[in-house]
């Protein structure tokens, strides 16, 4: 079965996941993003590449932040951006996901940026476009369920490369709710493809999916051991609704066991960087002293995120 995000020539048709994304495509995206990052420094932060193209931001799940970064990226490429927040209540009124796609396709869409609560929803859309002969429309997964958030994974790779250059010598620790995290999955696949020396995940058992080792990671339940000697610490967001209940007893206990404090960070390499996809829960997964400290590269991640999304969009939409 061919990975549906690549076309028959092996070129990127959609961006759905970092899993199985060839190394040269990942590197091409990171390379392409570098000059886009520079555009942000200019007086006119706009390029004409996607002039006349219509990009639909289809957010079936609310996320102002991710939607905004995609919107900025598309606008800097001179695309026409249409934002649609399709909450579940209007979906419940009857129109199916594929009906929505058919309608928007009829409006001459060139690209769908899709956020959906169900894992795999962008695959359904990509498959439908292929089955109905509309391969010229591209799909970018902006986060599907627990499955993938590939642009976040790629911007994280861009950030790591920016600070660390070479991936192959790095030990990277991912800390927090891996079970529910599409970000973690996209990070793990991209890191593995780029050949980092070791990927660690650090979390209590309730926040790790079954057989997570099969993704090629080393599991640590003790954060002090897990952070020993790492080059990169990637924090994950803990959703409010998961801070209490059957997964965790309380945010306080979580912070006590897994919160990233300056003392714990001291176990990592002296030049370690700390990343977080945002929004942060200060005092739950990360101490403010770390979030605002010299190791944190959390704000540069946001800046790079726009460049990486510009690179992805312009790689997908160009060429005929």
């Amino acid at each position: 079965m061919r990975n549906p995000q690549l076309n028959s020539q092996g070129k990127l048709q959609h961006l759905l996941t970092t899993e199985g994304l060839p190394r040269d495509i990942i590197l091409a995206i990171l390379d392409a993003a570098a000059p886009f990052a520079e555009v942000a420094e200019r007086e006119v932060k706009k390029l004409p590449l996607l002039r006349g193209k219509s990009i639909f931001n289809l957010f079936f799940e609310n996320s102002t932040r991710t939607r905004t970064t995609f919107e900025i990226a598309a606008k800097r490429l001179s695309a026409d951006v249409i934002n649609l927040n399709i909450n579940t209540s209007s979906a419940a009124k009857g129109e199916t996901l594929l009906d929505t796609i058919d309608n928007l396709s009829a409006m001459q869409a060139d690209m769908f940026v899709v956020r959906h609560a169900s894992s795999g929803a962008p695959y359904l859309i990509a498959g439908h476009l292929a089955a109905t002969g509309r391969e010229h429309i591209h799909v970018v997964n902006a986060g599907d369920g627990r499955h993938a958030h590939p642009t976040q994974g790629l911007l994280d790779m861009y950030t790591i490369r920016h600070y660390k250059r070479d991936f192959t010598a790095l030990t990277v620790a991912i800390v927090g709710d891996v079970l529910h995290s599409r970000v973690a999955r996209s990070q793990i696949h991209a890191l593995a493809t780029l050949g980092v020396a070791e990927i660690r995940v650090i979390a209590p058992r309730t926040l790790l999916p079954t057989d997570v080792e099969r993704l090629g990671v080393h599991v640590f339940h003790n954060i002090d051991e897990g952070l020993q000697g790492v080059d990169v610490v990637m924090m994950l967001r803990l959703q409010n609704e998961r801070m209490q209940g059957a997964l965790l007893p309380s945010p306080q206990e979580y912070f006590k066991s897994y919160g990233l404090t300056p003392e714990r960070l001291a176990r990592a390499k002296p030049d370690a960087i700390v990343m977080h996809p945002g929004p942060m829960n200060r005092g739950v997964e990360i101490d403010s002293a770390v979030a605002d400290g010299s190791h944190a590269v959390i704000l540069p991640q946001v800046t790079f995120g726009i460049a990486v999304r510009m690179a992805v969009m312009s790689m997908l939409a160009g060429g005929s």
């Binding site: 390379d31 000059p35 520079e38 555009v39 312009s314």
Partner: protein, 179 residues
């Protein structure tokens, strides 16, 4: 007419460079800024910058983001960041490219420059004008114009030497693969 004949008639790049320096010298001043267009134009601009003794730092432009063949050919894989290390507003800018052909690259470069501000003046300096213009663009400084336009199936390529003379420039004629 055969390639070898054309090659025989083709002047040496270094000689053209010397002549370009001579042409430009009376027209540059302390506020003249050079911006080379990747890749050949940047090599040329580096040499010109030194020979003309210019004070403002050298700029470079990659026109990938402004190319008008994006929708047919896609994003150029080797795109680099442009670098304009001086204020563009009101600047006296000389764009530098190796070969002037259709004029499309120059159009894209001017668009790119405007993303940084509003230049006071833009001139164009090229080593060689091969003819075949598709836009109303001309070079103020041009070291050599081919007596008749080169066929579209061929291209002039500027190359840079290797050790021990890495900055020595030379021109060669090649068949175009994408024609």
């Amino acid at each position: 007419m055969s390639n070898t004949q054309r090659l025989a008639n083709l002047p040496e790049a270094e000689a053209l460079l010397a002549s370009l320096v001579k042409t430009m010298l009376p027209h540059v001043g302390p506020d003249t800024a050079l911006v080379g267009i990747h890749t050949g134009g940047v090599w040329l601009a580096e040499r010109l910058h030194a020979a003309l003794g210019l004070k403002l730092p050298l700029g470079s432009i990659d026109v990938s983001f402004h190319r008008d063949d994006y929708s047919s050919k896609g994003l150029h894989p080797g795109a680099r960041a442009s670098s304009i290390p001086f204020p563009v507003d009101a600047a006296q800018i000389v764009l530098v490219d190796d070969v002037l052909f259709t004029g499309r690259t120059i159009r894209a470069a001017m668009n790119e420059l405007y993303d940084y501000g509003r230049p006071g003046r833009i001139d164009l300096a090229v080593l060689i004008d091969r003819g075949g213009r598709e836009l109303p663009i001309g070079a103020r400084f041009c070291a050599y114009t081919l007596p008749e336009p080169l066929p579209k199936s061929q291209e002039l390529v500027l190359t840079r030497g290797s050790e021990p003379t890495p900055s020595i420039l030379s021109l060669t004629l090649k068949d175009r693969h994408d024609a």
